[in-house]
Symmetry: C2
Subunit: 350 residues, 2 copies
Amino acid sequence: MAMSGKRSPARRPTMKDIARHAGVSQSAVSFALNGRPGVSEETRDRVRRVAEELGWRPSTAARALSGEGAATVGFVLARPADTLGVDSFFLQLVSGIQEVLAERHLGLLFQVVEDIGDECAVYRRWWAEHRVDGVLVVDPRTDDPRPDLLDELGLPAVVIGGAPDERHPGLSTVWADDAGAMASVVDGLYALGHRRIVHIAGLPGLAHTERRVRTLRAEAGRRGLSEVESVSTDYSDAEGAAVTCRVLKRPAPPTALIYDNDVMAVAGAATAAELGFSVPADVSVVSWEDSALCRMVKPWLSALSRDSVAFGRTAARELTALLDGGSARAVRVPVPRLVERGSTGVARDA
Amino acid sequence: MAMSGKRSPARRPTMKDIARHAGVSQSAVSFALNGRPGVSEETRDRVRRVAEELGWRPSTAARALSGEGAATVGFVLARPADTLGVDSFFLQLVSGIQEVLAERHLGLLFQVVEDIGDECAVYRRWWAEHRVDGVLVVDPRTDDPRPDLLDELGLPAVVIGGAPDERHPGLSTVWADDAGAMASVVDGLYALGHRRIVHIAGLPGLAHTERRVRTLRAEAGRRGLSEVESVSTDYSDAEGAAVTCRVLKRPAPPTALIYDNDVMAVAGAATAAELGFSVPADVSVVSWEDSALCRMVKPWLSALSRDSVAFGRTAARELTALLDGGSARAVRVPVPRLVERGSTGVARDA
DNA sequence: ATTAGTGACTAATACGCATTAGGGCAACTG
DNA sequence: CAGTTGCCCTAATGCGTATTAGTCACTAAT
């Protein structure tokens, strides 16, 4: 009567089933499977075998409910839908994150939202719904509401790409030394004779953008270069091209362009070519992000290369450490390395 | 004694708290908040207000445990880590998916794995762990183990990009008519005088690859073209370039190249240029995927353009319909439209 | 006036797991 | 030999929600 004709989709086995099959109590099963004392090694083995046989897996829901956490970490990407275009960084980052999370059978709850306000709302909801044990935060800003929020919620978090922040001792940080990288890039360009340099920067509010801009200014000041500047963009190929066009049409155009991502670098290089500038004879191009894209144009673009997958792995490891009760740390990953390809050369007027 | 000095991270309010504040029982709260009969409108309102005030959100863990499902949808991407390079499709797809899921407060559990075997293991685990209510399946294969598995587990699923499959009436499908698109592309090229066409296809096992290959063969046969073929690749820029190089070095090189994605198309166009072939004078290039990439090379690439975000939205909607108890359907999204840009033209020998 | 019915609510239970509090039983201890 | 300890195990709760089975007061029908 109760059973209707519907397909019966293989009931999930529970600890009760195991207990019955093994002839012990549920508690014994729990002890056995969680490595707790209270059962003999013999029983433990038997229980394990039965569990294996039945294909048992703990219900995360039940686990979460009895205080063990949700076995899930969250990742929010705050970007207008149309902005996530050709961008290999995030997928690679996520891929690295997964490698580490998968080892521990942690799930990754992923969400794309419009802006940082929505992102905060998501954190609040996840927290209230008991959905995640911790989160990975990307694109830290100079004036960022998220650390405070996460502190308030007591949600373990790792900030990816942010400089260490002594005001939030609860948050871990994984970051690259953009300042050092920028200094070395400027160093290299200076050595090649470049004196007029334009940095086509990314979004102005982002922490790493600010670090790069500041460092560029400092380096320029140190060398007495007045025709060095940063221009903010939205990372899109369109703006990259537009800015390139604008600066190259000046009476004294820059001889070197530093783009904050690969998309803009490629678009910029193409624009330069259209305007009759030869790369690298007339203008050198550096991409602050390496990817297949940089090898799809002629000449190949010199680029700052970093291992985004490893970056993700590191971040995920820090988060798991935090979840295990470890204390927060700031981890610096290796400075991105400049891969010299065909797009950088001696300055024309040098 | 019990309370240590640790920060106390704002306890989550539960229904019990609401009940206490509103002066009713927990059951009344449950009825009130879920729109069940059994409470007066007055009480319902009061309870709602209190819940709002306290910032209450149902614990997904508890919900899942009491049979309501996990309020989560799964998405597995089976790709070797190094293969997820410059690919805008998936991020856009996911972005579209999220739009729909977010409305219903459904989470998206995301996982990247190495191969389809791992993917199946993930489904099994998610199912056993009670983690997801349904999944979105991408990259359907011609001989695919996943539909059977999902049937067996009784896990609602939507296959993205697969043709309708009458053997799995439980699965919904959202697909584009590759066959029609391929036919129209061949039509267009034929009209321009092209007789020797090479299709640089994607991975051989994929369903949509096979559909395109079959259609190309049929179209060629219908017109009596003997020098038309498909070559399988792994979607990488490297293979795209390699195949392009190989076919263009033939005694009678093709006059038109159809690439199964934007990455290969760009790499191929560059290779053609290096070999001294002018695009489109000597060889026409069509990209089966439109993105900013296609507008980063000269000439801009003609491409089959589809709205990936909308595609994702449609898929997500089908899944939510399934979760609501709807029956499976096969939905066809609009045929991708060929955007003519500078890379296609009249065949040289026409 | 007794009964049936209804609306508004409370009590009790289930979900699957972890954990705490026991309950026997054997081997020591004094 | 009673008392203690240690081992292996079972019984009983709790987590937060949904649901089912009552309870109680009051109205409508017989």
